[in-house]
Symmetry: C2
Subunit: 353 residues, 2 copies
DNA sequence: CACAGGTCCTAAAACGTTTACGCAAGCGCC
DNA sequence: GGCGCTTGCGTAAACGTTTTAGGACCTGTG
């Protein structure tokens, strides 16, 4: 008796498969006492309806697809992927859906979506790492597959479903916070600016400066991969300028850690001599301290974003022809030990009072 | 014409569904010219056979399951998960398999496997984060679902399929390397020792010491989560000992980065005053330098392990009743800039020659 | 000429569910 | 007592493939 199926269970009960199916799925047209009998028997023989048959019979895949691309050797994988997936997966599990992950090379991501759709392997997808003018928006709209984008695409006019953090506002607030502390030379260690969120963060930064009649110094703006090494190099170079920054905005925990290292390597103390604010995605393996945050940060849980996006795609699957939905999350500004008021004399230049 | 199906395609061609199916699937009993006709028509109408129907008809799920657990708030997610998944996914894609990811709470992982199996949602699974005496080995053996474990389980006598790195040998070699450089006070900043790999690494470390007639100093051994902060704290505490270590073995890039910070915070130079070797899983977002490695490290690509495990589970699905397979990977010892010969005077204690 | 053995194709039965439709019994009501 | 409604169940047809069992037609051979 490897796998009990509906027909067999029905015959054991002296009922038709129909009635058993209806009993298990909570349909009203079945006597409560028979329903109990069926339920009990199903539990006793630990019957679980075959997922493959359900999918065929109902015409629904009961699955959501996630495509993971960017596998060409020199391109970095998205470090937030795992946490986002974890959040989304929670929601799928709770709703009886499966998560289907496709790993493809960078140039065949579009084909992957078409494939998932035409094979009927998923009922919807979530799209990761949205870029400016992202072509995947049009592709998925053409395919007609319910899709939720994690991030917005600057330069796209068409409407689409997205979940995003207010990246502009996060970095606007962070910049204002530093300005209020007296800092004037504020550096931006940004992510690669074909990524949409990086563009918006820079806008927040420049807008905050502009609001005080200031303009960003190109020498204090860097855009690169968000690694520790990259953050270190950017900060090291800037700190060696004749007029170095007194504060940094870093795009991630990792780049912020690199910035910290460059600062400390110069004998400067973070939070006193140089301030640092970073964007904290609240990744489970890159916690910003334990009880009390170490870095002052704009924080927004990417896992929570995953949950929201998953719920959105499930809603979309249930009601496909509704108007596009959007969900803009606000990052919180949490105060850690990495920021402080501007001290005169600035970074690394001992002031000969 | 939303989705073209086999019957419709067959009628367009004036053939039976059987013949079309056989033509597309490369069966020999079909004329080559008709096969070409079928192929062309399939491409023209971009027909893709419905995955749900295939799965039901063949009785195979054409999918492999991965269960992601450890979602209770205070437990850390496995940072290597994404890279491992990426490697495995490559192999699935190439072989026409799908990857099914289940995200469940820690205490329902066993139920998740039973569920995947009895619903017929997957043909096999890969099990992550193997622990000592791992109960999942017995569970999956009872279920009778092909399973490959990423890691071995110390204390389990039953045979099972696994892919693992030779963690003991990696840390044995690393310790020997440090001993050869003259270091005698070598600290171990290990991962949590209910994880199997952490146990084996400690064994490698103590064995190397024992081979030279030395014994490990408990004050120089720490076992904790593999975060930057945890690495920093462990190293900071040890460096403040009256007889501090002159070299560190760290369990991951992140903990190694924490160790580095503690070293540099004391004005010591890594590679000159204090040596560090870490275990580098070659994660795509935590690269150990770009062209030239920064840390001396024992390196083994977890992505490659993912590929091997995936191939193994596919082989197992194809031939379920073969003897258990195992694959032990050797980590390479790569020389970076974080190690050097012991300088007399030791860490942080200026030698008054 | 009969027959064996390819070659190429079709009809129909799987696979295990869901669901449209139908039907019998029971009940209340005029 | 006939009519309509409700309750509880069964029959059978889907869903879109694969696969089993054949069958028609040709070709070569004795």
């Amino acid at each position: 008796m490897p796998t009990m199926n509906l027909k067999e269970l029905a015959s054991k009960l002296g009922l038709s498969p129909t009635t058993v199916s209806r009993a298990l799925n909570g349909y009203p047209e079945v006597n409560e006492t028979t329903r109990d009998r069926v339920m009990a028997a199903a539990k006793r023989h630990n019957y679980r309806p075959n997922a493959r048959a359900i999918r065929l019979a109902t015409g629904r895949a009961m699955a959501v697809g996630h495509v993971m691309s960017g596998l060409t050797r020199n391109e970095i994988m998205n470090p937030i992927f795992a946490d986002f997936i974890a959040g989304a997966g929670e929601v799928y599990s709770q709703n009886g859906y499966d998560m289907m992950l496709s790993v493809v090379s960078n140039d065949s991501e579009e084909a992957a979506y078409r494939d998932l759709a035409s094979r009927g392997a998923v009922d919807g997808v979530i799209v990761h790492s949205v870029k400016r003018h992202d072509p995947r928006i049009k592709v998925l709209s053409d395919i007609g597959l319910p899709a939720v984008f994690h991030g917005r695409a600057t330069g796209t006019e068409a409407a689409y479903n997205w979940v995003d953090v207010n990246n502009r506002r996060a970095f606007l607030r962070a910049t204002e916070f530093l300005l209020d502390l007296g800092h004037r030379r504020i550096a931006l260690v940004n992510g690669l600016e074909y990524m949409d969120f990086a563009i918006r963060r820079r806008t927040g930064y420049t807008d905050a400066l502009a609001a005080r009649g200031m303009t960003a110094d190109p020498a204090l703006m860097v855009s690169d991969e968000m690694t520790e090494l990259s953050g270190y190099r950017a900060a090291a170079q800037m700190l060696d300028l004749p007029d170095p920054p007194t504060a940094f905005l870093a795009a991630s925990m990792l780049s912020g850690m690199g910035v910290r290292r460059a600062i400390e390597a110069r004998g400067l103390q973070i939070g006193r001599d140089v301030s640092v604010i970073l964007f904290d995605d609240d990744l489970s393996y890159l916690r910003n301290g334990e009880d009390v945050p170490i870095f002052t940060a704009t924080r927004s849980s990417v896992r929570h974003a995953g949950r929201l996006a998953a719920q959105m795609v499930l809603d979309l699957i249930a009601a496909p022809d509704t108007a596009p939905r959007t969900h803009l999350l606000e990052a919180e500004l949490i105060i850690g030990q990495s920021t402080g008021p501007l001290v005169h004399g600035g970074a690394g230049h001992a002031d000969p009072l």
